[in-house]
């Protein structure tokens, strides 16, 4: 049942040491900035984080990493121009990295939400990222076996939630939001606004409320107009 909370701190309060936390967003689009900040404040450590990247600059996920709170990161693209906090921890052997092709990352997250125990994919076959993985020829293609990525919590961002927990997103900020909310045992979503049941057209709901545990409305800086 949906829990609508008053502030980001209350939303992330259940996250305990040792949790696996999926964090949505691709670049700034869909990044749950205020939830990440609340997680930094809240203090949970020894975290495994699932994100497309490994933090940028000095804030958000980068700050969480710099504080030594992340034990392991599962992502597709850790190395960036401004991923210096991750880079330093990685070279110091203080953070574990599981680098995953972005499509395998998305499909493995989807598999966790969809009850798929494992799947074969051609992506990654013959590359260092397939080392140690089971290989099989299927449909005339060499494929590797990939496992679901599950999580205790997900932190994602949508634009509007209704009081049934249904979510709609905005443009490319949708990205990992729907699949992470479905994959996590406890999904936490920040939205710009919460409306009453019946205010969202059932045809356009992207994430049905069954996947949403906690919603918090946060006044985000105004976004541009399309």
């Amino acid at each position: 049942m949906l829990n609508v909370v008053e502030c980001a701190a209350a939303a992330v309060a259940p996250i305990k040491n040792g949790s696996t936390v999926m964090i949505g967003g691709f670049g700034v689009a869909g990044q749950p900035v205020e939830l990440i900040d609340a997680l930094i404040e809240e203090g949970a450590t020894d975290l495994t984080v699932v994100n497309n990247n490994a933090g940028n600059g000095d804030v958000g996920l980068a700050k969480l990493i710099s504080l030594g709170r992340v034990r392991k990161i599962i992502c597709s693209f850790p190395r960036q121009a401004d991923s210096h906090h991750f880079d330093a921890k990685y070279h110091a052997g203080e953070i574990e990295l599981e680098a995953v092709p972005q499509g395998n990352l998305a499909e493995r997250i989807r598999a966790a939400g969809a009850g798929i125990g494992a799947f074969f994919t051609p992506t990654g076959y013959g590359t260092p990222l397939a080392e140690g993985k089971e290989v099989r020829e299927l449909g005339g293609k060499m494929q590797i076996l990939e496992l679901p990525i599950t999580a205790d919590f997900s932190l994602t961002k949508a634009v509007t939630a209704d009081t049934a927990g249904n979510l709609v997103y905005r443009k490319t900020a949708r990205n990992f939001g729907p699949i992470m909310a479905a994959a996590a045992t406890h999904s936490i979503v920040q939205v710009s606004n919460v409306v009453q049941r019946g205010q969202l057209d059932p045809e356009v709901v992207v994430t049905p409320g069954i996947y949403v545990d906690t919603v918090v409305a946060i006044d985000s800086p105004a976004v541009g107009q399309a």
């Binding site: 190395r79 680098a99 972005q102 994919t121 490319t172 990205n175 990992f176 699949i179 992207v206 541009g224």
Partner: protein, 218 residues
């Protein structure tokens, strides 16, 4: 289509124009980050080419500037872009399913190395202390119906980039079908042979000197 004759190696922009001319009308295409992005400048409305960006959009438009910029609308290179009429949004698993399911007619990628069997290395230099960062490259290389590579024929240090066998960690196996370089366009035949389709500002012999295996002529 008439092939232009050229009397010198091509600039990245000129090469992008060559690639654009080879993309069939009505195609669904993903352009990789960096030099491949230039190809979009040479696609015309008549080409009716639809661009895919793996962060969840089909029908991606041109780069956005000034007041057009919307932080919720970016491409895979995290650059603000615009919509086109008929575009659509979807989540990351749906976006990669589109790519991995073989629905894109073509993707254009940069490369560190390509070898005669179409193996591609473009994500990792192989240096032991390098942090592996692959993004969507492996999905694109393996998933699109055709993978085109855009690169210089030789690296800055003069080393060949079209090689007998890739020495850097692979991105995909046997996935490249064409290589567009500043000096020539190559067709990968799948049986280990590579055909020089055309040269720019040099003859086939000059290109052959920069490639460490015997090329075929068109």
């Amino acid at each position: 289509m008439t092939r232009m004759t050229r009397d010198r190696a091509l600039s990245p922009e000129e090469l992008a124009e060559v690639v654009a001319a080879d993309i069939p009308a009505g195609a669904y295409v993903n352009l990789g980050i960096g030099q491949p992005t230039l190809v979009s400048n040479y696609l015309t409305p008549e080409d009716d080419v639809t661009l895919h960006t793996e962060n969840g959009m089909l029908g991606m438009g041109a780069q956005a500037h000034g007041e057009e910029v919307d932080p919720d609308l970016i491409n895979a290179g995290k650059i603000p872009v615009k919509e086109t009429e008929g575009c659509s949004y979807f989540h990351h698993a749906d976006s990669f399913a589109m790519m991995r399911g073989g629905h894109l007619d073509c993707c254009v990628l940069g490369a560190f190395q390509v070898d005669r069997n179409g193996n591609l290395a473009n994500w990792h230099t192989g240096k032991p202390d390098a942090i592996p960062a692959v993004g969507g490259a492996m999905d694109l290389a393996t998933g699109a119906k055709q993978t085109f590579v855009m690169m210089t024929l030789t690296a800055k240090n003069g080393q060949p980039k079209l090689v007998e066998e890739c020495t850097m960690p692979l991105t995909g196996v046997g996935c490249v079908s064409r290589i567009y370089t500043d000096q020539a366009v190559f067709l990968i035949e799948g049986d280990g042979s590579v055909v020089v389709r055309e040269t720019f500002g040099c003859d086939v012999e000059a290109v052959q000197e920069l490639v460490p295996f015997a090329l075929e002529r068109a």
